[in-house]
């Protein structure tokens, strides 16, 4: 399997209220006071330390002031400076040294820094660059540079946070700055917010990945799978309709059965249509139909559905759902597909389990302020390589297409969430997914 990587390149942003962001994002931040800047950057770099990233701070402070500010942060930040993982550069010196060079060479500088960082075994490059000493004379050059940086780092393992002193920016300058960055970071009371573009951005890259993954499937394989999904409810519709006609033409007509079969026809026809819509959403560029959802309800629906499939007593499915779980925004059918897929995988993984009862445990919890987390834990034999399981066409099943987990992950990532797997301590594996909480429920 070449080229396609469905591994999510996310990292903790560190700033309170913001969880994980994809690498390659270019963010601007306007600070009103030096304390604000320190409040944001200390945890930002601390997260970089935690994730073993190389950090560069082009600071508006003197290097001593900057070092002292970091020193007040969590232990380890100082040590990071000592061992060279982090570098502090005085913005005045930096801008003086880059002055007169075109924006491309400055961009090249960052790309080169990233390569150096990766070659030394770091996970990526995390930078904060202050621009305070440039506005007056070189605004246009700065904006050209900002535009070029955004394009250049999009596919790189670089986080770029450009800090602007709000007092020194003109209104038009602020607008232009926001336009040349993908995202804007802003403080709201204790927590911080990054504008919703983050979500749309990752959505777009995930779709591109999904598109790639689905291109790799042969038309025959995909059409066979889709045909099956559609034909099941259609077969039910056809048989129910025939039965309905028979009940109608009986003497006397059996109206009770007529009503029942007609209701089933409506239900199954809708579910066929939903499959078609779901497939369309999956394989074309259209956005998922996002509605506020209670994830617990989806889990319970899917549990019922899956229980119908397994022999009674063979497997038990145990729910441990958090009451008052905040709602999320998602496409119901797509989420159901993911859940059905994960449930079925869990049950299939336990096919050969004999030593312990076959138990699938489902857990839902709020994770931090911004995410809801679901865990599906089985008692099978576990995964040889948990990450492999998500590669398209990777399958250990005789009849599997190997697309289930790859598509599931694409769906979850298209919803700005994450899906991953780990092996349990004792038995089996746990599949975890996180999805962002509906913004109106963020109290």
């Amino acid at each position: 399997m070449s080229a396609v990587s469905l591994v999510a390149d996310f990292t903790k942003y560190g700033i309170p209220g913001i969880d994980e962001v994809p690498f390659g994002i270019h963010v601007c931040h306007f600070y009103r006071a030096r304390e604000d800047l320190v409040d944001a950057l200390v945890p930002y770099f601390a997260a970089g330390l935690g994730n073993n990233e190389r950090c560069v701070w082009v600071t508006p402070f003197s290097t001593d002031e900057a070092t002292a500010a970091l020193g007040r942060g969590p232990p380890g930040l100082g040590a990071m400076l000592d061992k060279g993982q982090m570098e502090i550069v005085d913005a005045r010196c930096w801008h003086a040294s880059t002055k007169g060079t075109d924006e491309n060479s400055v961009v090249q500088f960052w790309l080169h820094e990233e390569e150096k960082a990766l070659s030394k075994g770091y996970q990526g490059l995390r930078s904060a660059v202050d621009t305070s000493f440039l506005y007056a004379d070189d605004w246009d050059t700065l904006m050209d540079y900002e535009g070029a940086v955004g394009d250049a780092i999009r596919d790189r393992r670089i986080l770029m946070l450009c800090t602007y002193d709000a007092h020194r920016c003109q209104a038009t300058g602020v607008l232009e700055t926001v336009r040349t960055h993908q995202h804007t970071l802003d403080r709201r009371d204790v927590n911080w917010e990054i504008d919703s573009l983050v979500r749309e951005e990752s959505l777009r890259t995930m779709r591109a990945r999904l598109e790639h993954a689905t291109q790799l499937a042969t038309v025959a394989e995909l059409s066979a799978a889709i045909a099956h999904e559609v034909n099941q409810p259609l077969a039910a519709v056809a048989s129910n309709a025939s039965a309905c006609l028979r009940w109608l033409s009986a003497t006397p007509p059996n109206l009770e059965r007529v009503r029942l079969t007609a209701e089933r026809i409506v239900r199954d026809a809708n579910s066929a249509a939903e499959v078609v819509n779901g497939v369309r959403a999956l394989f074309k560029r259209s956005a998922p139909a996002a509605v506020p959802l209670n994830l617990n309800e989806v889990i319970e629906e899917v549990r019922q559905l899956v229980l119908e499939e397994v022999c009674s007593g063979e497997v038990s499915i145990e729910n441990d759902l958090e009451r008052n779980l905040p709602r999320i925004v998602a496409d119901r059918v797509q989420l159901q597909q993911v859940m059905v897929n994960l449930f079925r995988n869990g049950i299939e993984a336990m096919e050969r389990t004999v030593d312990v009862p076959k138990l699938l445990s489902i857990r839902s919890r709020r994770e931090g302020k911004h995410y809801v987390r679901v865990e599906i834990c089985d008692r099978g034999s576990g995964l040889q390589d948990p990450e492999n399981a998500f590669k398209p066409f990777f399958t250990t099943k005789k009849n599997g297409m190997g697309m289930g987990l790859a598509i599931s992950r694409s769906i979850i990532e298209a919803h700005s969430g994450r899906l991953w797997a780990t092996n349990n301590q004792g038995w089996g594996a746990t599949f975890c997914l996180t999805l962002p909480v509906l913004s109106s429920e963020l109290q």
Binding site: N231, Q232, A236, S239, R264, E309
Partner: protein
Amino acid sequence: MTSPDQLVMVVDDDYRVREALQELLRAAGLCSVALGSAAEYSAYAKPDVPACLILDVELPDINGLDLQRQLAEGYHPPIIFVTGRGDIPSSVRAIKAGALDFLTKPFSDHELLRGVHAALAHDREQRARQADLNRLKQRFHSLTRREREVLPLVVSGLLNKQAAAQLGISEVTLQIHRTNVMRKMEAASLADLVRMAGRLNIPASQTHYV
């Protein structure tokens, strides 16, 4: 509930399809039972009545075609396959292995019901033949060792004298054995006994126990 006089067993992993098929069968006046997997089918205590099996190819545990192969080892009701995919290789395989019909979803009710009625009739015959054979076997087992030696000689067309000589007994004794065989096997004539021996796989003029 009294047990039905015939039964259609539906094995499909999709509850919507199970439900719809049962409804259609019910509307057509047929009694049915629905099962969700090959394992459920195997565990189901099948009533002793003519039956047929509507089997989905794509089952959660084992493939419908594999189940057919397992069932082929013993007596089983005729199979009508249904599939959501309907690829040619599996239909060929199924029919070759003795499936009565192979329908692709969605199928027409006439197609299905025609298949079901044919399958039930087929099973009724199959069961009648089997019951017949069982009766014959029972009768054969009621024969003494000597009578079982006499039977192949008689049906191979030997005269009493020749048969008696082969067994080293008197013609009169052979005559008595022969009469007992005819009576116990409930054979109306020698030709009838020859036919029975054929069905029991008893080769002429050789002593052979079933």
